[in-house]
Symmetry: C2
Amino acid sequence: MARTTGSDGERTEAAIREAAVNLIARQGYEAMSMRQLAAEVGVQAAALYRYFPTKEELLFTLMREHMEGLGEAWEKTRPAGADPSQRLSAYVRNHIAFHIERRHATHVSNMELRSLSPERLTHILRLRTAYEKELRAILRDGTDTGAFSIDDIGLTAMALIQMMTGVIVWFRPDERLSIAEVTATYLSMTMRLVGARHDGAEERHVHEHAQLRA
Amino acid sequence: MARTTGSDGERTEAAIREAAVNLIARQGYEAMSMRQLAAEVGVQAAALYRYFPTKEELLFTLMREHMEGLGEAWEKTRPAGADPSQRLSAYVRNHIAFHIERRHATHVSNMELRSLSPERLTHILRLRTAYEKELRAILRDGTDTGAFSIDDIGLTAMALIQMMTGVIVWFRPDERLSIAEVTATYLSMTMRLVGARHDGAEERHVHEHAQLRA
DNA sequence: GCAATAATAAAACGAACGTTCAATTAATTC
DNA sequence: GAATTAATTGAACGTTCGTTTTATTATTGC
């Protein structure tokens, strides 16, 4: 046999991406075979090579688009002239919303870096660093204006990102907490962590979301 | 050839464990081949099977002993009748010290869970849950006595553990910060995160370690 | 120093891997 | 409706994988 009825390149490529994200997140990149991926898509292994020249290029594409999407989401959300507390709040909301929506893709981007060639690894890390830099800038501004009280900006930024991204490890959409509740609690923890001053407009905003649970 | 001069079972097994932890941490469990591991140890692949019946059993042994070691370290360190702030402080110190000392083993225990069979996965997760339970108990006691102000104990515990364990992702022993400085900053962030009251003996204790950097 | 045992080497097993190639059919273009 | 292009199959390639088997040598106990 050969070309099958109703076959469509775009649909097949989308199906490959989706199946690959799920399989790699569940089993790991090395553990997923191209034959297994093909079976999940409902196609022969050779067909995959029409869309991605190698297995690693497929992984790289998934990671790159995930990181680019994260940066773009932040650029659309970022408040222009807001004060540090509002900007930090927006950063946290965007980060958590984006990662909860894309749990599997995040898992892939965080866990499979070692399977990339050095050049591709550098590419992904550059995207990640640019995104983290935005957080450090917010923390620095907040420290300068006195809105935050931070010991070490770089270390605090890493701690915050680890804490927020960790959501995907344990969060399940159908369990005890809703996304809104989780986000509110993480916002509250973040503001405490950076020693945000408890006065001004932002403070009321935070508390209104933070006291949902005891 | 066969048995080599100076060969010794105990030394070989220790060399296998150490090489395996490093290789798996660097490349991942699936990406490490038994032949590569054997070459690192300076032995033929078949010799590995004298010490570990399968590759997965080797992985499981490494993980189990790491998790057991973490629990034992905490049991030795845990202050008996101390107040919640002191106990939380001890927990953070122990966690960070243990993980920084065993960066590679921690990486393995955190990243390779999906390569375990269901029964072995359950075993490891039980050890991990028991350890995390200790933190939740401290947070609960602190909330009850009013020492802490926490929105959601389970969520805060997960956030703290993600934050602390994240140290191994970026910390390099020979760089900008010493272990003591990192620990102090994480202690400070932890106490803020749980809303620790800024009065009593513990408060002085925290600040004395936390203000090393700006 | 001789038997027993511990530790390893060397070779081989079948299975699975990523990838390539030629053939074949569906959809599109004119 | 013929020619062209897009999409896929099925078989095969050489390599590597985890593991087993058998033989061989070093060490230990008596």
